[in-house]
Amino acid sequence: MSTKVVVPRKKRLSEGLTVTQKVFIRSRNGGATKIIREHYLRNDIPCLSKSCTKCQSIVVPDAKNELPKFILSENPQVIANIGKHYVVVDTNIVLLAIDLLENISCFFDVIVPQIVLDEVRNRSYPVYTRLRTLCRDSDDTKRFIVFHNEFNEKTFVDRLPDETINDRNDRAIRKTCEWYAQHLKDYGINIVLVTNDRLNREAVKKESKEQGYFTKSLYEYADLLSNADEIKELIPNVDNYAESKELLPEDKSEVVFPEYYQTSRVMGGLRSGVLYQGNVQISEYNFLEGSVSLPRFSKPVLIVGQKNLNRAFNGDQVVVELLPESEWKAPSSLTLDSEHFDINDNPDGQGEEDEFNRNGAEAVISDKQRRLLAKEAINAQKSKKVQPTAKIVSITRRSWRQYVGQIAPSSVDDKTNGIQNVFVILMDKCLPKIRIRTRRAQELLGKRIVISVDSWPENYKYPLGHFVRDLGDVESTQAETEALLLEHDVEYRPFSKKVLECLPSEGHNWKAPVKLDDPEEISKDPLLPKRQDLRDKLICSIDPPGCVDIDDALHAKKLPNGNWEVGVHIADVTHFVKTGTALDAEGASRGTSVYLVDKRIDMLPMLLGTDLCSLKPYVDRFAFSVLWELDDNADIVNVNFTKSVIKSREAFSYEQAQLRIDDPNQTDELTLGMRALLQLSIKLKQKRLDAGALNLASPEVKVHMDSETADPGEVEIKKLLATNSLVEEFMLLANISVARKIYDAFPQTAMLRRHAASPSTNFEVLNEMLQKRKNMHISLESSKALADSLDRCIDPEDAYFNTLVRIMSTRCMMAAQYFFSGAYSYPDFRHYGLAVDIYTHFTSPIRRYCDVVAHRQLAGAIGYEPLSLDHRDKHKMDMICRNINRKHRNAQFAGRASIEYYVGQVMRNNESIETGYVIKVFNNGIVVLVPKFGVEGLIRIENLTDSAEDAVFDELEFKLSFKPKTGDKVRDVHVFEKVDVQVRSVLDPITSKRKAELLLV
């Protein structure tokens, strides 16, 4: 970067508006470009302090004709030695301690200079969004504001000759503080600049004695607060270490991890094709083994061992370099988890270097050789069993977030009461333990706690973090549920005031208009005449028992020409959730409702989900209807989409509907309609299966709760009735029809859902197992072939075997994903599992955001109302799709984890012997699935036999031979074998996680 800076000329345009030029050099791909931008300086930027009398007169309204709100309190917090004060934060504080800024017990009346906001945005976008949210939502409690110092003519500073950009920015922050101090002097409010940059603090002292504001480091500032002890605990770890580095020479031990490559080397390597970028996926059975999927290789490249993983976390975006051929190996058949590994490590000391320095000496390889190596590696993946391995040389983006875990009891020194280093074992077993410093170690033992990871210097064996808050005792329902939601990144806080303000003011008393042509109602909702009145149709809904958010309702009617009129009516959520509102933004960010065993986390506020939108029986509700004319063969003659108003006649549960249909005495029109729907749905299903739709299985179970004590009672495998598939078939039909319509109207941005065919490599292991053990085969030519071959996988002696194969093949499948139609070409829209060429989600707008978008697009397509730009912009659609895909996955995992937890609670009370199936065989254990509880567990070799060394693992036969604890005869365990296992629930003493423990009988 050039250091010669020409001071740009300034020109006064009018009173209070000056223009200058911002000149900087940007280097991209090695070239340098001079960028010149205009920069306008103004005098109408207010200080936003309520006590200020000067700024009230200078403010100007924005495009919506609203004046800025003055937020900073006239009576801010008082601290020792300083008194009433506002805080100005520096970039390093925001990046380091955003958690602390969000904390409700410290940091009030904070001024965020624009330059800080910009720097934060460049360094970490997630932190930037959090800071912006904080400023937006902190009106009365926290009072955060952004002050545009760069655009204010009084606080703008020019870059001096020979001044680095960082120094200039620091100076700009100081100038802002100085201005604020000067500006608020008359009102007795002081300014405190909180920065961890020592040079910046010293510069303040040097510049002049009379600048009139204070400067503190984060630690010093926390010390001044009345709740200092509590706050200091929450200060991120790096800080403490940096501050105390001089004091603790023993911390400076030898380097254990290899240093990351420099950015220039990484960029060069990526360009010349000797380095590759991808996301690390840590193996769920072995935390010291990861893999990276790279577009150039057909299979993921392995990364084995702590040193090669080089401090990567699960999900980080990393840059890897291939290792020489001599170090390629097969994926380990060993299982390892962090919680049982190196339990006795001392959190105060450094890791032993034995393992690290083993392959320290490394041959130098030229770039040319590396490229040859890559070719070799691609070939090896195709032919041999051995897999290329790689090492991580740089981490592009950390996936660090807040994690839930608990303190490892063995790491706590119960003699001291002061600050000590302890290990925190995380719930996610793919992650290493985290070292934190706390003085409350003993108090926090046996509690679920939230921690945040701060850094992982290369001379530390474990990453450093800090304590954020505790959730409560291990195994208390509340703590476990919250832990689970946090772990899966599910937003569970109540809806904010701004969101709730978007709801209709009538609340629960909201009613659909009686007449659609009532002029008074039309004046309120000009689109009303476009709605169709379907209140005369005999509509009913069929849902699981106890369902309160009824998304869909159905009706069928015989037409005079002998065809059927079938209608699917979906709750008209978009009538209440308009684009651009806070409510819409919240729904978009939540993406989906999350269903836990005992709790539901709504995507939309209760008022909408369970009342105004829910298609409850006997009341008028707005709906979005899909009306087909179907012939007797269930072929579509005609389809029509319309917004409507309906009145559901009855809300059935699946069982009730089934009973009503089966009861020959019922001959009213509603029942006749339902019977017709059932007949049509059977034909639809047959057609779908003929086309090659898959019938997959998952070991899903349902936990019954005791209605009085809310204790989990028993576990039941989910049952399916004919009425389930009745509803399902029509929902599929509606989704497909809508997908075609919106794709037709918006060929570039239609919200769709696709399911890619799974690559045959995914099925390799399963096929090999089937071939070896059962002489069966799953073919993958088409979904039809797959469906047929799955049907053939039958063990005449064991009815469950087929289901088992289906469960295992489901795991080999790709996940379905949301996308916008511009992202793929038409042939790739295919939904493999359903065997249709185009598909979307339309039928559950109360609980899925995709459906909300689809509703809006359909409304646009039928000319009901113009589609908002948000859903017509590829870029914005891309962001929406990414988010809902992630949220959807997280919600699924959260739901499963919740079931798992409750199943564990059920088993706690009854220990039993159950039938299980071996689904995986490792060198040192086997994985068994117990269908009754839907749980699977690893049985370690130590628990199988007394002489673990004598066990023989046959990789080709998927067989583990060992001497059982009782008896002398060698026992062979194969994959797919049916075994009796003793199931009980145990609390792991180290992780304090309850899980099903299985023991072979």
């Binding site: 010149i36 205009e38 113009p866 908002s868 730009l869 870029h875």
Partner: protein, 248 residues
């Protein structure tokens, strides 16, 4: 791109303007008195253009001769150095599709405004050199031509002032720069004098129809302001020339 704060919650744009503020508008007139019959140099923000008007003169080609009115010919030269990165195309950009489109749009805009029927059997040749561009170039070109034509003394009905307006979510932003232009959909207007008559309306991106009215309203207001700025500059220039002439 989306990561930039195009319009901050505090109501400021990336360069520090508010939603309804124009960029710096500076102009000088009759800059090339020897090379042309009328000329102007215009800086609108960081757009910098030179406009030269030659004519009405006798056409060199017979095909350019029209018995009833003058032929209007506009040539735009987007110099290779006018953007941040030097354009890499070799050879002339004269016949590039984009340039031809701009030229046609400009001819259509001015054909009806200039009283071409007063100059039959002649050609009016307008040449524009874009020295630096920073978004909303078409609007700037219109302003440059208006100024140069007035300087050349070609009869016209009224000023035409051009401006680009972007739509960011629901907020219209007046007079977009290149960063803003890349981040959102934009509309370019050419407005006749102080009227609400549009001689040019160019929309190259998608824009919701229900927002267009809003966008046009602020655009027209901005164009009127530009007309006033041009008017002021011309009057100052005229004053100077008159005093020069009378001093002789």
């Amino acid at each position: 791109m989306s990561r930039l704060e195009v319009y901050s919650p505090e109501g400021l744009r990336m360069d520090g303007r508010r939603w309804n503020e124009l960029r710096r508008f500076e102009t000088s007139i009759n800059t090339h008195s020897h090379a042309s019959d009328g000329s102007s140099y215009l800086e609108q923000g960081n757009n910098k253009i030179i406009t030269l008007v030659k004519g009405p003169t006798e056409p060199t080609l017979r095909s350019q001769l029209d018995q009833t009115k003058a032929t209007l010919q506009i040539t735009v030269n987007l110099t290779k150095f006018s953007k941040f990165e030097r354009s890499k195309t070799t050879g002339s950009t004269k016949n590039e599709r984009r340039i031809l489109e701009i030229q046609t749009a400009l001819v259509r805009t001015f054909e009806k405004n200039l009283m071409l029927n007063l100059y039959p059997r002649t050609i009016i040749d307008i040449e524009i050199h874009v020295l630096q561009q920073d978004g909303g170039v078409l609007g700037t070109l219109i302003n440059g031509i208006t100024l140069a034509c007035i300087d050349a003394g070609i009869a016209m009905y009224d000023y035409i002032s051009g401006v680009s307006i972007g739509l960011y979510d629901t907020t219209p932003l007046l007079d977009v720069n290149s960063l803003e232009e890349a981040a959102m959909s934009c509309v370019t207007l050419g407005v006749m004098g102080k009227s609400e008559k549009l001689s040019l309306l160019q929309v190259e991106d998608k824009l919701p129809l229900d927002r267009l009215e809003n966008v046009l309203a602020i655009g027209i207001a901005g164009a009127h302001r530009i007309r006033d700025l041009m008017d002021e500059a011309l009057r100052n220039h005229a004053q100077k020339r008159i005093s020069n002439a009378s001093n002789k």
